[in-house]
Amino acid sequence: MAKNLAQLKIGESAVIDSFTDKRMALKLLEMGCTPGEVVKLDHIAPMGDPIAIRVAGYLLSLRKAEASTVLVSLLAANI
């Protein structure tokens, strides 16, 4: 099921498919968010933004606007 990263719920895991913003993609790629990588939503900040995801073995925080440029597929285990 195709979604963007900002739409995940806490505890959900997904696989990164592609990016919609080229510049943002670059920043995220160097942080280890490469296509095919599994990410898991760990925390959402109290006001709903930013979010914290587990990727490449560490915890990464990013704003929702940034996360919405990442297209992901939910892992079957979550559906």
Binding site: L29, G32, T34, D42, P46, M47, A52, L62
Partner: protein, 713 residues
């Protein structure tokens, strides 16, 4: 033999330049501190306003290594200022910091992402040592890293270290003494990404690696070329113009390729033995610390504790410092011959020094807390829970601590904005922090409130309410100013919040200590110079007058008739008041009277405004001198003197409610603190920002006071 050429040995040299580079949170600074201890100095990277830390270590009796702590970076793409500094130092052989050897510090417990930067530096084909830091954490998590295999795969020397417990430092130092291999093969084949253009560039420019050519293509506009190399620049520009390239796509492809290789290497070199423990501890703690109720409750408690400490704990050492300076001044006054030089020493230099040193306790306390919060990883969570709110005002989650510390003192607060990585958000934070009511405004507020607001008893104490409102007004003004600047300030740099939330760790006292030492040194040496200079100028202005007028006043009070009329003490007090009026400061106060009259201020307040520039609380002392109150500790007397003051034009009391409020609003908004301006100059490394700050705050104060005065009159 080719193999020999690729190994570099430094055993013959007497000095060695070593660059330390690595991801933020990789423990690079801890390693730097562990290697160099107190043998550090802070300078500037050439041409930019980024602090450069370098330190020294004697490797052998004849070989000294200079370590340069390059700014933390996730990649070699020169996007931000910090990254450009690291990029230029590693890629530009003409750069004065171009290293003989580069030590890449990587967090072994987060190997995958850390290897990205490592792989880029490997492709620059320069002698590197990989320091695999936090090996203790890896062990604790139950993982095993095959260092020998990793070293083979990467083609570089790898040393496992734990900078916090100082394990592996000896091996790292030893590695610097041994011959260091230069990476032989490409980590990824960048040439296949843009072979034609890379070939053309390597034809015209002499480069060590294809990756360097690749960087020239993808980051051309960011690369610094010296005048000597301007022809090179033109040649490359011509090649790039001939065949336009999608740089972003190129770099994305590079990143994907790198991670593909990294994933393979990591899989081969790491064995996971058990479930991850530290992470789940961090996860549990995060569930509380970023909780929508507990997160804020805990943060507010932490803030409250910090604020109280700066406010109250610091007051004791501050009092000792002031008392000791008074003792020294008294002693000097007794021992030294009377005269101009003694006067300059006691009232100019000693008073100035006292005004500098007195801030040290607050700086020490604030940075103790900040260093602990930063070192444990909690600061990143504060940004996380505050970011959305602060962003609305053009600020950043990290602006919270400086803003709140500003309630105690703007000086350490502004020094703590370093952690804000976005230039624009940091500038806005620096600009608005002095609007928060600092502790120096408190004595001014207290005096004026007691003057114009009647003391009431019961639950609603008007005096307390007014005081609280003043703090609130300061906060609102800061947020409003931030909101305005958000639209005015232009920045090419996009604000990101893509950052790591590091694993929670216990703070390291050595790191905390070095941060404090560094900040205090910075303040005393850099800002201190400016503060001392202005103190001396202010001293001159308030103790000198044209045409020997002061001597005339002295003579007047020495006359027999005055001696009969007043006691020696009374004479001293009255003549001091008259001298201040006659002094340059007095002349200045009178000169600005027409400008400040619309605010309801007379020349006496004008003098206080001039002298308050040394520090706001000087207002009280100046008022005491002007109104000839001998004992400045006795605010009761100042108050009654000020109450009795009659406005010569109206015949009514000078300090009406309108004047009182107008004056309080002026003190709430005006930039009357040279120390803050000196620190802003130090932090922004530009005269422009303190100047803008001075003008905008003074204008805000002037017009707000004008409105308040005319509304209440």
């Amino acid at each position: 033999m080719e193999a020999n050429q690729s190994i570099i040995s430094f055993s013959e040299k007497t000095s060695l330049k070593v660059a330390l580079v690595g991801n933020p949170n990789s423990g690079k600074s801890t390693l730097f501190n562990a290697l160099t201890g107190l043998h550090q100095k802070t300078g500037n990277f050439p041409g930019v306003t980024v602090d450069k830390k370098s330190g020294y270590l004697k490797l052998t009796p004849s070989l000294t290594a200079e370590f340069i702590d390059l700014p933390g970076t996730y990649s070699l793409y020169p996007k931000s200022l910090d990254e450009r500094v690291a990029f230029d130092a590693l890629c530009n052989p003409e750069n004065e910091d171009y290293p003989d050897v580069t030590i890449i510090v990587a967090d072994a417990s987060n190997l995958k992402r850390n290897l990205f930067l490592v792989s880029q530096i490997i492709d620059l084909k320069m002698p590197v040592i990989l320091a695999l830091n936090m090996m203790d954490l890896v062990e604790k998590e139950g993982d095993v890293i095959d260092i020998i295999r990793l070293s083979e795969k990467l083609g570089v020397k790898v040393v496992g270290v734990s900078a916090r417990s100082k394990e592996g430092l000896k091996a790292l130092k030893q590695a610097l003494l041994e011959p260091i291999p230069v990476p032989q093969y490409d980590f990824i084949d960048v040439k296949k990404l843009a072979s034609e253009v890379i070939d053309k560039i390597t034809e015209v420019v002499n480069l060590k690696s294809d990756f360097e050519a690749f960087q020239m293509i993808s980051n051309f506009s960011q690369i610094h070329f010296s005048n000597k190399n301007s022809d090179k620049k033109d040649k490359i520009a011509a090649i790039l113009n001939a065949k336009p390239i999608d740089c972003e796509k190129l770099q994305s492809q590079e990143a994907v390729d790198r991670y593909r290789t990294i994933n393979r290497i990591v899989e081969e070199c790491i064995t996971h033995q058990s479930a991850i423990k530290t992470e789940s501890f961090t996860h549990k703690l995060d569930s509380i610390l970023t909780h929508r109720v507990w997160g804020y409750v805990i943060f507010l408690t932490v803030l409250f504790f910090i604020f109280q400490s700066i406010f109250f704990l610091a007051s004791f050492p501050m009092e000792w410092i002031e008392t000791s300076f008074v003792v020294v001044a008294d002693y000097a006054a007794k021992m030294l011959p009377q005269g101009e030089l003694t006067n300059l020493f006691i009232n100019g230099i000693l008073a100035g020094l006292s005004g500098i040193v007195v801030f040290v306790p607050q700086i020490v306390l604030l940075f103790t807390f900040i260093a602990i919060l930063e070192d444990t990883g909690y600061m990143a969570r504060v940004s996380f829970i505050m970011d959305k709110l602060m962003r609305k005002f053009g600020l950043n989650g990290r602006s919270v601590i400086p803003l709140m510390s500003g309630v105690a003192c703007a000086i350490p607060a502004i020094m703590s904005t370093r952690t804000i990585s976005s230039w624009k958000e940091r500038m806005i934070t620096i600009m608005v922090t002095p609007l928060m009511s600092c502790s120096a405004r408190l004595p001014v507020y207290t005096l004026l409130i007691s003057l114009i607001v009647p003391q009431t008893t019961g639950f609603f104490n008007y005096q307390g309410l007014i005081l609280m409102s003043l703090y609130l007004i300061g906060f609102i003004a800061a947020m409003a100013a931030a909101f305005t600047m958000k639209w005015i300030l232009k920045s090419k740099e996009k604000s990101y919040f893509i950052m790591e939330l590091p694993v929670y760790r216990t703070p390291q006292w050595k790191t905390v200590g070095l941060v404090i030492f560094d900040k205090v040194k910075l303040f005393l040496l850099d800002a201190g110079k400016i503060i001392l200079a202005i103190s001396v100028i202010l001293w001159f202005l308030s103790s000198h007058a044209p045409d020997n007028r002061l001597v005339t006043i002295d003579k007047k009070y020495e006359s027999p008739e005055m001696v009969l009329k007043y006691s020696p003490q009374e004479r001293e007090v009255i003549s001091a008041s008259e001298k201040l009026e006659a002094s340059y400061a007095g002349i200045l106060g009178k000169a600005i009277e027409p400008a400040i009259a619309p605010l309801g201020f007379d020349w006496k307040i004008g003098i206080a405004l001039v002298t308050s520039f040394a520090a706001r609380e000087v207002f009280v002392g100046t008022m005491a001198t002007i109104y000839s109150v001998g004992n400045t500790d006795n605010s009761q007397t100042i108050r009654s003197k000020m109450k009795e003051e009659i406005n010569p034009k109206t015949g009514l009391p000078q300090f009406t409610v309108a004047v009182g409020f107008s004056l309080m609003i002026f003190y709430a908004f005006a930039m009357q603190c040279m120390s803050t301006l000196a620190v802003v100059y130090r932090e922004t490394k530009s005269r422009k920002w303190p100047a803008i700050q001075f003008v905008f705050m003074t204008a805000l104060a002037y017009f707000s006071s004008l409105i308040v005065y005319h509304l209440l009159k």
